[in-house]
Subunit: 305 residues, 2 copies
Amino acid sequence: MSVLVVGSIALDTVKTPVEEHADLLGGSASYAAVGASFFSPVKLVGIVGEDFPNEHIAYLKGRNIDLGGLQQVPGKTFRWSGEYMWDMNTRETRSVELNVFEHFTPTLPSAYVESPVVLLANIAPSLQSHVLDQMSRPQFVIADTMDLWINIARGDLEALLQRVDMLILNDSEARQFTQETSLIKAGAKIRTMGPKYVAIKKGEHGCLLFGDGEFFSCGAYPLEDIHDPTGAGDTFAGGLAGYLAARGNGSIGFSQLRHAVVFGSVLASFNVEAFSLERLRSLTQMDIEARYQAFHKMSQFEVLG
Amino acid sequence: MSVLVVGSIALDTVKTPVEEHADLLGGSASYAAVGASFFSPVKLVGIVGEDFPNEHIAYLKGRNIDLGGLQQVPGKTFRWSGEYMWDMNTRETRSVELNVFEHFTPTLPSAYVESPVVLLANIAPSLQSHVLDQMSRPQFVIADTMDLWINIARGDLEALLQRVDMLILNDSEARQFTQETSLIKAGAKIRTMGPKYVAIKKGEHGCLLFGDGEFFSCGAYPLEDIHDPTGAGDTFAGGLAGYLAARGNGSIGFSQLRHAVVFGSVLASFNVEAFSLERLRSLTQMDIEARYQAFHKMSQFEVLG
């Protein structure tokens, strides 16, 4: 099965205490689509300007990503610039130029309408809902979000939650959204707002997955060096969605989501090892499989009799 | 086998955003000894004053803790007072009265000298070394430490590290001690300083265990409500040491330590559910077993073919 990914496509300028690089391929949909493409075919919906480099188009096509839903329009591509502090966890946005993204309306080609798995990567919740308006009964809908929408579009976000199977957000966003300091309470509370499943990302500390009376705590693959955390969450969501789509037409339940979360974490762990999508460019299925095995080995323990 | 525990015994006053309680049983050795006592017999070395309540003595004896190494001397018991901020993670020490603890010299009764497993709970590293001076070749020595000793007694701590099998410390202490921001690098660096094994505690995010080419990442059991984090690390160390001692005379390797870390985490998760040692007072073997199973269920995933 294929996965439909909608979100932002950007040209990023990223500074860390060690390096700075400009005009990198970025945006939530770029990371998510490439992440998903390691597991299943992808259909991408997004917008770029005339300045968007052909090499990025060629790269996405080469990843088996269908660009029938990519709008290329007059004007400049969305640009984002950010800087990471010495701990590589704190990030400051230096500038945002929405450009063509400001008037983006996601429009689905007819071939996209029946996509079984949908990943609504981080964009305004009204646009995420607009994508669902155009679809016929997708099997599994995942939405990612961020603090900005919790602050300025809470109503839209709450409306969206009635229509998605799974919400992904990070720990501070979950606390902000629910006003609960306990993540366990926050996850349970969000489930009462619509989504059957909730994934709370804790960055370098892993991820918590909540279902109906079920719970999974997944660590993060530990890394010696992190070169660029940008897009880790989007890559996680993409890997997770792609893994689910690859399961075929079987039902998607907690057991499948458990593995999807692990594969998403594995992909995200690779992504932060280099700037932009660079590490994903050279990544192989064997790399993913080896890290999954290593991750398993370092985090498992037996039931004792 | 029994475990020898040496450390501080205190009367604590603890304030949280919700509650405040005075004159609670506390100190690194109290938590560690009670934690260990769920798995094996314990021999305790410590000091208290004339004001130390008989009920605490009776409680420790009732836990199968040998108090032959407990000195009760003229003067007042060590007192500590601290306050937790709203997030229950940030702690401010309000007052410290060393009292009889100021001139404590740990002295081992002859029956203690051959203890196979030793837990040097958090006290000055020179005192930890002094305990080892009195012993004949223990099988496995674990030391806990804190930021204070890294700051004011680094030389003593480095000397101690040559003599211990395992060091336990928390994430900020590991970073401070090694000047490495990556915990993976920090753990590896501490291993080059002496201990064959290092456990880095990450509070609510679990624990990392480092061995010779081996690594284990253990989550923390997720809790909805934390009432008092005091002693969580000491209880973890105690549970870990007690579990190892209970394994009998077999060799202690990475596989045993992996399970010891999980049992230590389980015990610590109970400890923070109430003030002081209150939750441990009512804790049963069945509670521990049930949480171990639940912890296993929520953190495991299979190797996929």
